[in-house]
Amino acid sequence: MKIIVMMKQVANKDAILRVNKASTWIEEADLSWEVNESDGYALEESLRLKEKHGGEVIVCSMGPQRVKGVIKDALARGADRAIHVVVDDLNQFSPYASASVLAEAVRNEQPDLIMTGLQSDDYGYAQTGVIMAEILGLPHATIVIEIDASAEKLRVKRELESGWYQWYTMPRPALLTIQSGISQIRYATLKGIMAAKKKEIKEIMPSGEAATLQPHQRIERIYLPEKQKQTQFLGNGDAKAGAVALAEKLRNEARVI
């Protein structure tokens, strides 16, 4: 089974985000980066399917040279090779343009399965995988938490709202968007890191109609959200003093204890 995993590099969860001068995006200069959370699970699931059924796992990431970090890490964990779609600024793409560039980047590989994360932690569009499936003419399922690929048809378990689930059956090839937490993620071993050095990373440029498409939506301005509630901050940076003050407030002001 040939599996392609789409992996995006995003700002580190704990990074302090600063708005750029034009207020159109964040200052990216000295950020630390990591792999998008659900994409890590998509990779893990791909590796497990390969271990079970044989085949090949190919990582595909789009972004500037820094995304090689995500690619190399995936190769070290066990992916076989990689495609890097080199783009300096992801911000120039709308969700549709981005998805169609990614679709063209993997089309000729003719994979049996494409996996994406269910949502990116930066843009949070929650649509790249589904648009890719439409462009490539593949059936899809979103928010997948279990995959059974032992039969000719794929059977996948989808999460619905409020603790409900549903199984879906569909033909292959197909595209699945993976939910975080589907399985325990492996770490890269030293041996894996050494082996990764010999693996192929193919660089390609965006191609196809979409690379030149006019964007259909544009970010005008980004800013810190306005608070919905007036929060009383306690302790002024001293957590212990804050705790003492909090107990008192909960008793005498909020009257909940």
């Binding site: 843009y123 648009i131 979103t142 709202e161 603790g163 259909h216 804050g242 909090l246």
Partner: protein, 326 residues
């Protein structure tokens, strides 16, 4: 020329998904501001009664798109049907609730028009006929104002809670237009939805909840929160990653894929406050957050906050409360 607003109504097992009416409220709002009419669309088979109920809302008309293949939701079926309705009505905006079902098919629908969604919006503002949609980015840490460009229709989804369902205006009775839509090949076959386990713990009745997130670091540390819950006579709950890691059972998960609670007191320890968590607890009476990141979105809805290390704060808090209760 494209005109009007089309709002998508979701239902399952003969019942509306209540967030559909939040979308109706949003669509009516947009309609008023732009002085355009709102039409509601319902897809299905044998749910004419739902279409009649929808007609009681203040909409220009209800379009009921019918086909045997729409009996059960599938992305293939819904996309085909919606594409036909959108092409026929030629609206300027298509408004949808950002539910799991919409996330599953709406990007595919938009792609048929060579575009994506302006997804998961939390509000909008109209100035001189131009609409600015606001969506959360970076897991809730930033807001982005987004404008639509190019040809209509613009596809927009609204986050659960962005508009209030009870503000969807009722009307004098709209006309129901039933369309027999064509639906092509449906490639996926759904099985019946089910619930994993009978919930053993019912947190919806708890007065006090102490919830832990990834900031708790390890399974062993949960004992800290447990002690706090104990002196408060409350229950222990968690964010999703804690349940995924099986540090606590899944029936203690709060949020869109877990339980929705509204205790008198909710204490969030090391929880960042992603929207999927917030929807499950934001209606709690008093909300306390202890988090070392001053910018964590959980503080947006907290009444009391401590910016700092929970491992310092929690033992002291537990002790102080024990003293007060003694």
């Amino acid at each position: 020329m494209s005109n009007g607003i089309l709002v998508f109504i979701e239902h399952r097992d003969g019942r509306f998904n209540k967030t559909s009416f939040e979308a109706v409220a949003a669509a009516q709002n947009l309609g008023r501001e732009l002085q355009q009419s709102v039409a509601a669309v319902l897809l299905g088979s044998g749910v004419g009664n739902l279409a009649e109920m929808l007609a009681g809302y203040e909409v220009a008309k209800v379009v009921y798109a019918e086909n045997e293949k729409l009996k059960e939701y599938t992305p293939d079926g819904y996309t085909d049907a919606m594409e036909r309705v959108v092409r026929q009505l030629d609206p300027q905006y298509v408004v949808m609730p950002h539910t799991y079902l919409v996330r599953d098919y709406a990007p595919k629908l938009a792609a048929r028009f060579k575009k994506g969604l302006i997804s998961d919006c939390i509000r909008m503002k109209v100035t001189d006929g131009n609409v600015r949609f606001t969506r959360r980015i970076f897991l809730g840490k930033m807001d982005a104002d987004v404008v639509s460009e190019g040809e209509p229709p613009t596809f927009v989804t609204f986050q659960s809670g962005a508009y209030r369902a009870d503000q969807a205006a009722k009307g004098a009775g709209a006309q129901v237009e039933t369309l027999q839509v064509e639906v092509g090949d449906v490639r996926m076959r759904p099985e019946a939805p089910f619930q994993e386990v009978k919930q053993a713990v019912d947190l919806t009745k708890a007065d006090v909840i102490v919830a832990v997130g990834r900031g708790i670091k390890s399974k062993e540390n949960i004992a800290l929160a447990e002690k706090l819950a104990e002196v408060l006579g409350g229950d222990l709950a968690a964010s999703r990653p804690i349940c995924d890691a099986e540090w606590l059972p899944i029936d203690r998960q709060i949020g869109s894929s877990g339980q929705t609670v509204a205790p008198k007191l909710y204490i969030a320890l090391g929880i960042s406050g992603a929207i999927q968590h917030l929807v499950g607890m934001k209606n709690s009476g008093t909300i306390v957050a202890i988090n070392k990141d001053a910018e964590a979105p959980i503080f947006d809805i907290a009444d009391y906050g401590i910016v700092g290390d929970l491992f310092e704060a929690v033992p002291v808090l537990t002790e102080e409360i024990r003293k007060l209760k003694a």
